[in-house]
């Protein structure tokens, strides 16, 4: 039996698309566990975690979103899928994520880093207290990340069920 069948350019683009989706959006799903564990075990690491968060969004997620869109457009064009619902859903979700990153997610994570550093510096050395401002910022980040994660999962579901590829 032939192990991989015939290997075409479309396969390569599809593989790049799937891998880009996974690498770009995968970390979103680890976020709730990471911040819950850090708040409990090592709250002093929260500022650097927010720095990691927005660095990833700038250096990994933003270019990844572009790659997902470009490879998606190539495949849709080549397979003439422009009338398919899942395609427009996917484009809508990726555009929404692409818009939410620079306008909400990155600035909020930056602000959360600054506020967490300030709170940790100003608090007593033996007790860690984070302000209500910080808590409001992280609540907003958590809600947005969860919403984006759900959108990504629904999109994966649509692609899995609807896509002929």
């Amino acid at each position: 039996m032939m192990p991989l069948g015939s290997f075409t350019g479309l396969h390569i683009v599809l593989a790049i698309h799937v891998v880009a989706v996974m690498v770009t959006f995968g970390a979103v799903f680890a976020r709730p566990l990471v911040f819950a564990a850090a708040s409990r075990q090592d709250p002093r690491s929260l500022p650097v975690l927010h720095r990691i968060e927005y660095t990833l969004q700038r250096l990994l997620v933003t270019p990844g979103v572009l790659l997902v869109i470009l490879t998606g457009i190539y495949m849709a064009d080549r397979e003439d899928l422009w009338g398919a619902f899942f395609l427009w859903w996917g484009i809508g979700v990726v555009a929404l994520i692409g818009a939410a990153l620079p306008t909400v997610m990155i600035p909020t994570a930056r602000r959360a880093e600054t506020v967490a550093r300030r709170d940790l510096r100003s608090g007593p050395a033996d007790a860690i207290g984070l302000s209500s401002e910080y808590r409001a910022l992280t609540r907003r980040l958590a809600l947005l990340s969860a919403a984006l994660g759900v959108l990504v999962l629904i999109t994966v579901l649509f692609m899995g069920v609807e896509s002929p590829l």
């Binding site: 039996m1 990471v34 002093r44 619902f85 649509f158």
Partner: protein
């Protein structure tokens, strides 16, 4: 308009794909995350290693089980047991599970303890942040094994994509 017939195969396949993404997605950011911490807040390295093994215990190990179970289900439904990509995927999942349990989790626990020890020793000697060669070697090994595992995941995805779309 949604036109496809949604049957068990597609639903389980979608759960399989979603679980792969949730399980392995976070691991791809380890190199960048550790680079940021090493540069901006090395005192948080022990915390990062604790997060690393917490993620591996609570997310990756259970996720691997779901990936294997849903993979077995869709393979049985589609009668793909003789296919190369199924054998590869199953083997890759087992290798990843074995390496995560025997190398990554104990290694991250040890790295957290060593980093903590080095930071405490540095604080007693005047507050300088410096890490021992033992810690650096272990962190390097964790990074290399983690990257190999990520590469294995990516190659497996490539095989799945090519084999399932002849």
């Amino acid at each position: 308009m949604i036109t496809a017939v949604v049957d068990t195969y597609y639903v389980v396949k979608a759960i399989h794909s979603m679980t792969v993404m949730v399980t392995f997605g976070g691991a791809f950011v380890y190199p960048l995350a550790f680079a940021v911490v090493s540069r901006h807040d090395p005192r948080s390295l022990p915390a990062m290693h604790r997060l690393e093994y917490t993620l591996e215990r609570l997310l990756i190990v259970p996720g691997l089980l779901v990936v294997i179970l849903t993979g077995i289900d869709i393979t049985s439904i589609s009668h793909h047991w003789g296919m190369f990509f199924v054998q590869w995927g199953l083997s890759a999942t087992i290798v990843i599970g074995a390496l995560v349990s025997t190398v990554m989790i104990p290694g991250a626990e040890r790295a957290a303890a060593l980093a903590e020890r080095d930071l405490t020793a540095g604080a007693q000697e005047g507050g300088a942040v410096g890490f021992s060669e033992e810690y650096r070697a272990l962190a390097r090994r964790l990074l290399i094994v983690g990257m190999l595992l990520s590469a294995l995941v990516l190659i497996t995805i490539l095989f799945m994509v090519v084999a399932l779309n002849p």
